[in-house]
Symmetry: C2
Subunit: 97 residues, 2 copies
């Protein structure tokens, strides 16, 4: 239970940044991507060229919001999207009847 933590506000803050949204876009296209793969995708497809550390910090924020999960295998860390926390948004402010 409480799969993605109690601080729901973190989800909104996580979505507030353009680079993080692009990361979610890439992870939606393909799961299990490493930090380096995501860095190159950002540069090629989104014209975003932050440093590797910046991207790493963004992934931390996304993980703190429960939007990304990660597993370490060997020296690689694979990242996977989890859209579950997004459902609270449309639940909180549904379309008016």
């Amino acid at each position: 239970m409480l799969a993605y933590g109690g601080r729901v506000g973190d989800v909104y803050k996580a979505l507030a940044d353009r680079t993080r949204r692009a990361l979610l876009d890439e992870l939606l296209e393909r799961d299990e991507q490493t930090l380096f793969e995501l860095c190159s995708k950002l540069a090629m497809k989104h014209d975003l060229t932050p440093t590797r550390q910046a991207v790493s910090q963004h992934l931390e924020v996304l993980e703190g919001a429960g939007l990304v999960r990660s597993v370490r295998r060997g020296r690689y860390k694979f990242h996977t999207i989890d859209t579950t926390p997004l459902s609270q948004i449309s639940e909180r402010w549904p379309s008016k009847s």
Copy 2:
């Protein structure tokens, strides 16, 4: 067409603040509220006590994101929620099949 402007990123930034989310909560409960009404609601129900100008600026941001519409009647300005821009979130990152 283009009901809520072209800068979709503004929607995410608008949601990133706790006070603005509380404002949306209040407007969802009752439409056509004035700045003063919303100020007192924030203080009583959400333990938020920003100044009137701060709330006014928040409403500007929400309006810029298309989440709030406003009409002026006499010396009153009534604010109304519009949840339409929120649909793009679940459309952009749907639940994985």
